[in-house]
């Protein structure tokens, strides 16, 4: 297209970062290369289809610039525009959407300090206060101008709160997790990073810390986590890995779907949609797929785990990455997808490393590729990293993000199984959903369905955090009561007196200690007006001011709304304002008036927002107001 670029030019380093990501220097002068007068001035290939076909590289290229330089300059965006044939205003629109990208110059080292609800229960405010004293205010350079720190939404390290992620840009970009973090450790890490002596590994998965049940023979989903610590394909197979895939080849697509149906597996991402239904929707379009060379089926593993308090997918990916790949490969067999994507949360460096290594190993050993294990199945997986946007966990926003657009949700219908990624039929499954698949195939759908209850089958992962004695992920059959789960985790920490439990994260619901006998099933939680959501079980003792938690949740949504639809974009702001007034005890009119207004806002957000974010942005607040007289 006819691009118009401002006069800003890329630096050689920025150019190198983009070229490296795109696999080499540009083809012609028209994409920013050195002119070849003879060829370039006589003919040029391009066109809209070509531009559209490379648009999906936008996010990876922006990552490459951010990682190398530490921020993304207009010159770098112009060069990106030229190379990908994307208008610079759109490059800017996309780059400015994501929290991990800085469009202003900033130091190469940035410490992201989580101050979200789980970390609040573990001293994040005090940590921030001390950093403020020692390093100076957030968002300003420290360590001789080479670093800075900033507050962050939940980093998904809640079992080891408070958490800090240190990111360093450069030729060898690095990310380093500090959890639990102390002021001293943060300070020394910032200094190390600024002086280029960062440890190579971003993090260490410590099963004792993160999987308290480790070693228990009862574990099925988590049985390998920690046992195959430097994950290798051999180790995975020794522990029973890829048995299910072999079995799936014997069953064939129909057989796999039969078992999946029998298992009654519901999606673990939060929406609890029957997994088999999605797969079948693609399988039913297989004739169209065969008849039409332009048609493709896609499979996406949604690993953009960003719900505050949630960290189960991270631990699975860090501790048992091949299980995710195996689940996806079986899904590919059933759905006819030849390409899979893992859309990984950008702030998960260790999971990223392990998945990338696992994909590489699986390709090497023929578990991914043109003809998997000689079965004729063709399937490969590409790892894509998010860039700091909670909304991209919404499946249609995720499509837009992969495609190189702003991560704004699409209206449904059409549903992903009709027109998803690149407008092709697409299945999106959560990480936890996918690791249930090998289990189902191995033991048979019917046997699997006997775990849990009639309508909530199978084992479930729970993220215990907050004021709990032994935080971490816990595996328990569906139907386990909240009380049983708390007992497994050693009970309430902090003051030891439970005030509230947040189920399902910021988009979830509060339940009171009185409701502790609720069976943790989809139907059980629904019966008390709550949700299982992403499996968050966050305990709050009675030292916590619930109002502050509610305010933090409101701030979270204000920060994370994409801004596309009015009810959500403005609703989350008005909600936060009303809450602030109530917390400060200076209501407009009476408190009752404010509460009525909050209720109306909540209903409009729930009824009229495009996607789940807006529809649930008021649900935690509403559930709290129903249970307690928070603003008495």
């Amino acid at each position: 297209m006819d691009l118009h670029l401002t006069g800003d030019r890329p630096t050689p380093e920025e150019k190198a970062a983009v070229d490296f990501e795109l696999g080499g220097a540009p083809e012609s002068v028209w994409q920013g290369g050195a002119p070849d007068v003879e060829a370039d001035t006589r003919s040029a290939n391009g066109g809209n289809q070509k531009a559209e076909s490379q648009r999906h590289l936008l996010l990876p290229v922006l990552h490459a610039i951010q990682n190398r330089i530490g921020w993304i300059s207009p010159g770098a965006m112009n060069y990106t525009a030229l190379r990908l044939d994307v208008p610079p205003a759109e490059v800017y629109g996309v780059a400015s959407f994501y929290g991990m990208f800085s469009l202003q110059p900033r130091p190469a080292v940035v410490a992201h300090v989580c101050d979200d609800i789980a970390c609040m229960t573990r001293g994040s405010e005090e940590l921030c206060d001390r950093l403020d004293t020692r390093l100076g205010p957030e968002n300003l350079p420290c360590a001789g101008g080479r670093a800075m720190w900033m507050r962050s939404n939940c980093l998904g390290l809640c079992e080891r709160a408070p958490a800090v992620l240190v990111v360093k840009a450069g030729q060898k970009p690095q990310q380093r997790v500090l959890a639990p973090a102390t002021t001293d450790r943060v300070q020394s890490m910032i200094n190390d990073a600024a002086n280029d002596v960062m440890p190579a590994a971003p993090d260490v998965l410590n099963p004792q810390l993160s999987v308290p049940q480790e070693g228990s023979p009862k574990l099925v989903l988590l049985r390998r986590v920690g046992k195959n610590n430097a994950p290798e394909l051999d180790g995975y197979q020794r522990l029973g890995g890829y048995e299910a895939l072999h079995k799936a080849f014997d069953l064939g697509p129909e057989g796999v779907l039969r078992e999946m149906n029998a298992s009654k597996l519901l999606g673990r991402g939060g929406a609890a949609f029957p997994a088999a239904k999605k797969w079948e929707a693609l399988h039913m379009q297989r004739d169209l797929l065969k008849a039409n060379p332009g048609r493709k089926h896609y499979l996406i593993c949604n690993a953009d785990e960003s719900e505050p308090g949630t960290f189960k997918d991270r631990i699975v990916m860090e501790g048992d990455p091949f299980a995710v790949l195996e689940g996806m490969t079986i899904a590919a067999l059933a759905t006819g997808a030849e390409r899979g994507y893992i859309y990984l949360r950008g702030e998960y460096p260790l999971a990223g490393q392990r998945l990338a290594a696992a994909i590489e190993a699986a390709r090497w050993e023929g578990f991914l590729g043109q003809n998997i294990l000689g079965s004729g199945l063709r399937f490969d997986i590409e790892l894509r990293r998010g860039a700091g946007a909670y909304i991209c966990g919404e499946e249609t926003a995720l499509f837009n993000s992969i495609e190189g657009h702003r991560g704004e949700p699409r209206n449904k219908p059409p549903f992903p199984t009709q027109a998803g990624l690149f407008r092709q039929p697409t299945v999106v499954n959560n990480v936890e959903t996918l690791i249930n698949v090998p289990l189902i195939i191995n033991q048979g759908g019917a046997a699997y369905a006997r775990i849990g209850t009639d309508s909530s089958t199978g084992p479930r992962l729970f993220c215990l955090c907050g004021h709990v004695d032994r935080p971490g992920i816990y595996e328990a059959p569906m139907g386990t009561t909240l009380r049983q789960l708390l007992t497994m985790a050693g009970g309430v920490a902090g003051t030891g007196r439970l005030q509230a439990i947040l189920l399902g994260g910021a988009a979830g619901t509060f339940v009171s200690p009185k409701e502790i006998d609720v069976p943790l099933t989809f139907e059980g939680t629904r019966a008390i007006g709550a949700t299982l959501g992403s499996g968050v079980v966050m305990l709050l003792d009675d030292s916590i001011d619930l109002k502050r938690i509610l305010l933090r949740i409101a701030a979270f949504f204000r920060h994370e709304t994409c801004g596309q639809c009015v009810p959500c974009r403005v609703g989350v702001v008005r909600q936060q304002e009303a809450l602030l007034r109530l917390v400060d005890n200076r209501p407009m009119g009476s408190k009752a008036d404010e509460l009525v207004m909050l209720k109306e806002m909540a209903q409009a957000m729930r009824d009229a927002s495009i996607c789940g974010l807006g529809q649930t942005a008021a649900s935690a607040l509403e559930s709290a107001l129903q249970r307690w007289n928070v603003f008495a």
Binding site: R42, S43, A44
Partner: protein
């Protein structure tokens, strides 16, 4: 598939290009053939940057490739055309390899566009002045029409050929008989029966032979055969190629009347100037667009004092000359036209209003108008005469390049400006910069020029001074100027008045120049 040839529609026909873009988004392929990599070309799946004036070579080479690959539409050729054998033989010498030498375009690209055009289910071939402002303009057009006939991309829904008109009523001017050999409705003046119809209606004799087009008129002035000129809404003193000659001839006229909105360069030379209203917003009437759509223009604002409507002036003039034509009412004039021009007969003002304009031909008040022409060629049996292939040779531009004049200057229009600038000059366009000669960055390096440096541009006819601007869409040896700012850069001091004998157009697109950096900047 859309093939834009010698057209930068993105800038010169922006709303037409919206429709092209719609096609592109629906999966249509776009090919652009233009010496410059224009903003239109940047949308193309493939752009072919041929040498100025080598269009026929390219077209004939495409034809050879199509024929030799067996991609011609044999059925259509047999059914509806004539002269194919001679054409086929003629194009055999235009091999891809020689075409690459002659046009500069890689053989592979020529082959690609030939196959794409011939293989497309539907293909539009559109051109603008890049084809027609040449000394062999008609040959150029013919060469393209040959391609359409060869592939059957004509007279079908979605397939056709289309010259994109530069003014809102170029087509209408032709419709109304403002061409030397036609009466309104393209009825030939030398056809006695047709002429008789007009003579009867108008009660006067009409010269039985065709007249002059503008280039012929200039020649006639030179021969002193033409001594009086009535010039309406045209500014030949600025717009004609080789402006010095045009100025001299216009100045030498015995008597000239200029009827215009503006006191133009031409008006300065006139004996009488008749201030006229703006046709598009101060008058009633119709215009015809590129797609033959006749639409109403309406008076939206009152005309300034002292200014009169064109028709009113002409009617008054007639009255002074002893003819009472009655009330100068646009609709009455239109209805008279409808009674004489069959192709407009069905287009009452009421119907034009109702349909948002209608495309001719529209033979009666039940006729819906026609969205494309030449459908008759597909009718079985064939209606009317066969469409002829024509053998055309490639002839280089008249103004040859040589070591003295090594750079090829071509001309065109920019997005925010229009012709000699008498109208668009009043627009405060944020896009506008002072007129500059566009050069390739490589040439600028060679001549040690920076953007904004002033250069003297010299052709065999004249010389102007202009600042330099880089345009990476130009290759070395190619330069670009517009005629939008004649007071600042009189581009037509440079251009050549090598005229196509049939169309009367000058070769604005190909001038040989040299550039020298001005010592005084």
């Amino acid at each position: 598939m859309i093939l834009l040839w010698g057209s930068n529609a993105r800038e010169t026909h922006p709303i037409f290009f919206h429709h092209v873009l719609k096609g592109i988004h629906n999966g249509a392929k776009l090919y652009v053939i233009d010496p410059r990599r224009t903003s239109s070309a940047q949308w193309a799946d493939t752009w072919l940057g041929l040498d100025v004036g080598s269009d026929i070579y390219l077209a004939n080479a495409m034809a050879r490739e199509i024929i030799n690959s067996g991609l011609e539409n044999t059925k259509f050729i047999e059914h509806a055309t004539s002269g194919f054998e001679a054409y086929r033989e003629h194009v055999q010498k235009f091999t891809l390899e020689r075409a690459e030498c002659e046009t500069g375009v890689p053989a592979a690209a020529i082959k690609q566009v030939a196959h794409a055009y011939a293989g497309a289910g539907r293909a539009q071939l559109c051109w603008t002045l890049g084809i027609t402002e040449h000394h062999n303009a008609v040959d150029n057009v013919v060469a393209l029409i040959n391609l359409a006939l060869l592939t059957g991309h004509v007279g079908r829904y979605g397939s056709g050929v289309c010259p994109l008109r530069g003014q809102n009523n170029v087509q209408g001017g032709g419709d109304m008989g403002a061409i030397p050999d036609r009466l309104p409705g393209f009825q030939h003046v030398e056809n006695d029966e047709l002429r008789g119809k007009f003579e009867k209606a108008w009660g006067t004799k009409i010269p039985a032979t065709k007249g002059w087009h503008i280039s012929h008129m200039l020649d006639a002035m030179e021969r002193r055969e033409l001594t009086t000129l009535y010039c309406l809404g045209e500014n030949p003193a600025d717009s004609e190629a080789d402006r010095h000659r045009a100025l001299k001839l216009l100045s030498g006229l015995e008597f000239m009347v200029v009827q215009d909105l503006f006191y133009t360069k031409t008006a300065e030379l006139a004996d009488v100037v008749l201030p006229a209203s703006a046709g598009w917003c101060e008058s009633e009437g119709t215009v015809t667009s590129s797609e033959r759509r006749v639409q109403r223009v309406r008076a939206a604002v009152p005309m300034p004092t002292g200014v009169r409507d064109d028709t009113e002036i002409i009617f008054d003039l007639a009255r002074r000359l002893g003819h009472n034509w009655g009330e100068p009412k646009a609709e009455c004039i239109w209805n008279e036209l409808r009674s004489l021009s069959p192709m407009n007969a069905g287009m009452s003002y009421a119907r034009l209003e109702e349909h948002g304009g209608m495309q001719w031909p529209c033979y009666d008040e039940q006729h819906p108008g026609e969205m494309f022409l030449h459908g008759r060629l597909w009718h079985d049996p064939l209606i009317g005469p066969r469409a002829p292939f024509s053998v055309v040779e490639s002839v280089d531009p008249v103004d040859a390049l040589d070591p003295q004049f090594p750079i090829r200057l071509t001309t065109g229009r920019r997005l925010d400006s229009y012709n000699t600038g008498v109208q668009s000059g009043w627009l405060n366009s944020p896009l506008r910069h002072e007129e500059a000669i566009d050069l390739s960055p490589a040439d600028c390096r060679q001549y040690n020029l920076h953007e904004g440096d002033k250069v003297r541009v010299t052709s065999r006819r004249g010389s102007v001074v202009a600042p330099v601007r880089f345009d990476s869409g130009l290759r070395p040896g190619l330069a670009f100027l517009t005629m939008h700012f004649p007071d600042q850069v009189a581009t037509n001091d440079l251009t050549i008045d090598a005229v196509d004998p049939r169309s009367g157009t000058s070769e604005f697109k190909a001038t040989a120049i040299r550039i020298e950096k001005c010592l005084e900047q």
